[in-house]
Amino acid sequence: MSERIVVDPVTRIEGHLRIEAEVKDGKIVDAWSAGTMVRGLEIILRGRDPRDAWAFCERVCGVCTTVHALASVRSVEDALGIHVPANAELIRNIMFCTQYMHDHVVHFYHLHALDWVDVISALKADPVATSALAQKLSKYPKSSPNYYVELQKRLTKFVESGQLGIFANGYWGHPAFKLPPEANLMAVGHYLEALEWQKEIVKIHTIFGGKNPHPNYLVGGVPCSINIDEANAINAERLAFVGQTLQRAKEFVEQVYIPDVLAVAPFYLDWAGIGGGLENYLVYGDLPTNGFADVKSFKFPRGAILGRNLNEVHPVDPKNDQDEIKEFIDHSWYEYSKGGGLHPWDGETNLKYSGPKPPYEHLDVDKKYSWLKTPRWKGHAMEVGPLSRMLVGYAAGNDDIKGAVTDALGALKAPPSVLFSTLGRTAARAIESQLAAKWGLEFFNTLLANIKAGETRTFTREKWEPSTWPKMAKGVGCTEAPRGALAHWIVIGDQKIANYQLVVPSTWNASPRDGKGQRSAYEASLIGTPVHDPHQPLEIIRTIHSFDPCLACAVHLYEDKKEIARHELLVK
């Protein structure tokens, strides 16, 4: 006897995601992932100034803010052949590393931890033992017995008030929670610490980009100027602030985030055998150290792994419009003028909802059931994200990545095979945060050395004026967003955006199955997941959260040269 369960809304993510799953004999036998919101940004971008695109694209997502702006300016720079000054690349890299640390820490504590941490159990903890545990794990200073006594008092008072706020109706007491009360109390403390910390690290974005979320970017470089003899520019005081913030961020990652992941993981080793899903991993790579054109210089190497074969890294070319990246719509609410998949430069989109009329109980999963298209690489479903980056880096023999992965596996006394799982994905995110912390400071020191040597340029006017552009130009801007491989494809015609398309990490991971019935990453990873109580979707959200979903990103539109019958879209 099987049962169809629905989880909608999936909370603690960005955007609107619905999961339907078939549960039989306590296990998931099939699953469907649906994005249920669409905005139509690519249609909106058409006809606009390509130099403005970054601002529109940045509003694709406010959680992974910056990543779409970066992909966008790179797509325009690629199309027009602009090479940004070294300092601009460094500042972009520092902002990138900042974003990784912020995004991953917030994900672990505020979006993911409540899947593993029983807040109510923390009320039973012994604060003195909690302090001893915290001090054994890390030298993080906020760990005294008194700290935990006070924290527990506050938590008890909060729970006894009867207004549980964000903790109301959680899955507390579920048998899948395994942490001892002391670990739960420590985690609640770190939840609050991380909330305090996260607002500090983003100040790096504020210094270089003016605000966060949504700092400012610029085609041709970065908008801030460097002038060490001026109050109104990046000077010694601003740089000191950035340096100190990077240093403190690194301390938090090393003294709180990493020890917590390593402390929690042993209680959940069964999750090292759950949620693996796909066996293919895709990475565009990022963090250039010799200009973006030199892919070999990336800190995160580019490449693809098929069938979990770590002995071979396949080359990836986002510009190959013949037989690499294509998007399909067999199960998506769109129409194509012809069958098959389309490379983003040649894509087309017509919104065409054909699902049930709301309010509905179930989606019609045999037909079309999502606002996400289904991207494929050489016909394969690919997983993107931290796990893919760590695996490709490991397989490519990148020293930093290999060392960090080996250290983490050593600490857990586990073989590499544990990485192919829900737990592995969560661990990979922590591992790369450690790298981002280290690399961020490296880039910062290089920036200081450049300034010291008299190199202060942050912008090039080369090709800024539209009159200098060719009549027609095509470009692609790639990056590795915290959630995985992200690229924007742009076609510029007559100084305006003729076509623009984004294929984003959560589109790869969260998309519906393709015409051959191949599942994408979310759907594949849920198969075989044990479900203790079909009415409590804890195990489902554990695996889904391990991907850190971002659905506003994932839903996108592209407009071909045909005119969409827009009048049909007018309000009746």
Partner: protein
């Protein structure tokens, strides 16, 4: 079983002040917080005393926070609130009963949290909305739990005490409503009627502005004074241009001609590379961003006007705003302020031209042809 005891109806007797004391906040810190928050929302000293009293005696208010067509930048901004007690107040002192970004429960359990609040706190809960509502095709472009944003918004708003529209999406549709608005996205005030709605503008709004608005509602039990676009005057009655520390450069005709040129490195005015400060009402120049660290102009990028309706469709961002300070700009301002602004606009322009040379002298910079250019740009020479 503590879980059961935890879900009993709330003891509605704990005040915010008591709650803060329980969280280890001293009386002194509490008073400091009140003073800081009072300053933030522009209160006189007597108002601060009133606010302190209110927080000492006020019950906690349930908050429902809905997400529709958005990017979650408002929630992200909100958690950046720079004063630690502000974070405490907003995450604990109000009872955030429904927030898809932060709540532990998903699916049916999340739905239950929402329904519990609607049922148990009829007419008492505060409804916050992030995102616009798509209205084309009967609303199928945004569904949650199998229902459209349209259906949810109407249902949840019905018994809400007041509505806060967070950010440009909820206030005016933002990027998805930019031309050609494929999903017919509409702001909240065009969907929900018969309720007080506070439009907290920006993409996203500044964290402390969001906190300030909530504290205002919490403290005085009434909505703040709004301009004719529904924005709280405390935060949206001043143009970025008028509160910009680079304003003297504008007055003196000292402009950045191109990014990272010599003038950019001196921090001159960004008007000529497209700054929307002259037509944008926000607190960026006063409160600044992320704990007062900087704001777009200070970091070298022109203001893109993200707290104004339709800012996406007001011409390319890097194109100079024509006809400034023109009456077209003033017309979007609050009707009460408009007369004063209009009256001063001409005066300010004349004043600017007359003091250009003197000011430049004072600033001690040489700006080449900028002064001539400024006079050309100045509509006073046209009007």
């Amino acid at each position: 079983m503590e879980i059961e005891s935890a879900t009993k109806p709330q003891k509605k007797d704990e005040t915010i002040y008591e709650h803060m004391l329980a969280r280890g906040v001293s009386r002194r810190d509490f008073l400091q917080f009140c003073a800081w928050m009072g300053a933030c929302i522009g209160l006189e000293q007597t108002g601060v005393a009133q606010m302190t009293k209110a927080l000492e005696t006020k019950k906690r208010i349930p908050v429902v926070w809905l997400h529709f067509q958005e990017c979650t930048c408002c929630s992200e901004s909100f958690i950046r609130s720079s004063h630690p007690i502000v974070a405490d107040i907003l995450l604990d002192k109000v009872s955030l009963d429904y927030s898809e970004t932060l709540m532990a429960a998903s699916g049916h359990q999340a739905e239950k949290s929402l329904q519990d609040t609607i049922k148990n706190y009829k007419g008492e809960y505060l409804l916050c909305i992030e995102g616009s509502v798509p209205t084309a095709e009967d609303g199928v472009y945004c569904c949650i739990g199998g229902r459209t944003a349209l259906q949810i918004a109407e249902e949840v708003a019905k018994d809400a005490k007041a509505v806060v529209a967070w950010g440009n999406c909820a206030c005016s549709g933002c990027v998805q409503a930019a031309k050609p608005n494929p999903t017919s996205a509409k702001p909240i005030h065009k969907i929900i009627g018969g309720k007080p709605i506070v439009n907290v503008q920006g993409c996203p709004p500044i964290a402390e502005v969001m906190a300030g608005v909530l504290v205002h509602l919490l403290t005085f039990d009434r909505i703040p004074q709004l301009d004719n676009l529904g924005r709280p005057k405390a935060f949206y009655s001043r143009r970025v241009h008028d509160t910009c520390y680079r304003r003297p450069n504008y007055d003196a005709g000292l402009f950045v001609e191109s990014f990272d040129d010599e003038n950019a490195r001196k921090g001159y005015c960004l008007y000529k590379v497209g700054c929307r400060g002259p037509s944008t009402y926000n607190s960026c120049g006063t409160i600044r961003w992320n704990g007062g660290i900087s704001f777009p102009i200070q970091s070298g990028h022109p203001c893109i006007g993200c707290s104004e309706a339709n800012f996406w469709d007001n011409g390319p961002f890097y194109q100079r705003v024509p006809a400034f300070p023109g009456f077209g700009i003033e017309q979007t301002a609050d009707k009460l302020g408009i007369a004063a602004l209009a009256a001063s606009a001409g005066g300010a322009a004349v004043h600017a031209v007359m003091t250009n040379i003197r000011k430049r002298h004072e600033i001690g910079e040489h700006a080449g042809e900028n002064a001539e250019q400024a006079e050309k740009d100045n509509p006073e020479s046209k009007s």
